[in-house]
Symmetry: C2
Subunit: 296 residues, 2 copies
């Protein structure tokens, strides 16, 4: 199990990334971490921490995409950016999964440009912990215009991912502004009809509170605009109420490899959790499941 890890991604990189990598290899015996970043920097940081040399590889990449840059423009200009190099390692079979806590947009664009796609529109999936079990919310912001067909794709991707999480028959809900059929805008009305006919367990409309309270659906599908606003609103409301336990990473579903995107503010523990999530998804055959679920 080899995870390509972006050494320069995140607010506290590279220190948080190295420390997270050390935590991850400490708890995953079969894990090799490929640190993608300036080789001299990586080598020095590993030596300073006395890291076991057989658990790490270093692959040189010197450029980085900033959090506020336009990712498409930045990546076009920087073929040597860490996320692009990491995505190429996955594409070329040198790594099994990609993890970055840098710019979400840059990771998405690098993955979509480099890897084969399983669906027309990849989606970011977050796992929301609730008292009733995990709820997979997608799309949390990979794209911002959605069609009814995209929502069905998201539902199929989310179903496969929920099965990897141990939910045998995931219930799929459509995020809407009321539970009754016929609610919502044209996108929701058309998606409702398509979801009813799709090969999945569609339980109808669900609402914003069902993402955090759970119990109604295991997978909640929405367009990336609404999903992103909702996720950040939940983060803000949780912070305001002094709560915790929110997801620290998202999986990019719909490309031909495991890609985990972490929060820019991730600390070493969060980064270790991102690596563990990538390792678990790879081990559980996420990509095979996705490929079987989504019509190619």
């Amino acid at each position: 199990m080899r995870v390509a890890l972006d050494l320069l991604g995140g607010d506290d990189a590279p220190g948080s990334v190295i420390d997270g990598a050390l935590l991850a290899v400490g708890s995953e015996p079969d894990l090799e971490i490929i640190l993608v970043g300036p080789a001299d920097l990586a080598t020095r940081l590993l030596a300073e921490r006395g890291a076991a040399p057989d658990r790490f590889r270093v692959v040189e990449a010197t450029e980085v995409v900033g959090m506020d840059e336009d990712p498409v423009r930045a990546l076009r200009a920087r073929r040597d950016a860490t996320v692009r190099v990491a995505a190429r390692l996955v594409r070329d079979g040198e790594a099994d999964a990609l993890v970055s806590t840098g710019s979400t947009g840059a990771t998405l664009v690098a993955a979509v440009l480099t890897l084969d796609r399983l669906t027309s529109r990849p989606a970011l999936a977050v796992v929301m912990p609730t008292a009733e079990g995990p709820v997979v919310l997608l799309d949390a912001g990979a794209s911002c215009e959605g069609t009814p067909d995209h929502l069905v794709e998201h539902a199929l991707l989310g179903t496969a991912y929920a099965q990897v999480l141990g939910i045998t028959s995931p219930r799929v809900g459509l995020l809407n502004i009321g539970e009754e059929q016929g609610k919502g805008d044209q996108l929701r009305k058309k998606a409702y009809a398509l979801l009813t006919a799709a090969p999945l367990l569609f339980v109808g409309n669900v609402e914003g509170q069902d993402v955090t309270l759970g119990g109604k659906a295991d997978v909640v599908v929405t367009d990336g605009f609404t999903g992103n606003v909702l996720l950040k609103g939940i983060e803000g409301a949780t912070a305001r109420a002094g709560g915790g336990g929110l997801p620290v990473h998202a999986l990019l579903l719909g490309v031909d490899a495991v890609c985990v995107v972490g929060h820019g503010a991730a600390d070493a523990q969060d980064i270790a959790a991102c690596v563990a999530a990538a390792a678990a998804a790879h081990r559980d055959g996420l990509i095979d499941r996705l490929s079987r679920k989504v019509p190619s």
Copy 2:
């Protein structure tokens, strides 16, 4: 100051409504409550509680719209529904404001059908308390398809409402999936350009967390679909984190009278707060301010 109050609206009506009305008249010396519902029921409940007769009037209305009914169809069939009768009292100058904790859809439809409109698309505005002061979020679900022009109307309505709340120069933010200009879907991109040119203090894009954490904008505008999902997501996240302090009512802005819509689960305290909000909005000249702000 006369508030028409829907006696049959809400999960615990009519008891919670009567008790809320008593609390409200106890703290507002100039307030008269017009109870709209079955007259014999209202009279009996008032007598049981020893209510001062000069603070209450009763107007007969015997029908109600259920929470799960289609409001347009239900109101068309029931001209004598409590919310319709209450809206007519306001239209005819017999009441200054309308308050209901029944079906939100029914209250909206009754208000829009009965009252003159100030804007092409009325919006539900909620006031989110934050550590940095109140944030007005709209549209929280009055309609579910939005255009760039509607978002500008919402921004003008929200600005006038924030001024009533004591914010002299309200900052208006556009709810989006990133702060940089150029983010979002076509609706957001077009709305951004229009908001920049509109006669208001536009501060650019804001994100989901800014609604609960505050500090970036005093008014956050979005389409009713996104606003409704976000509001319910915030409610769910706050409940999950064991927090409180969320809004218990929304104002319908864009019609020619003060209309307050309370949560169906409102208790007597919440209903008193709804009545107090309606009284304050009327006293502070909300409708005059809205009329001046919005081009007719």
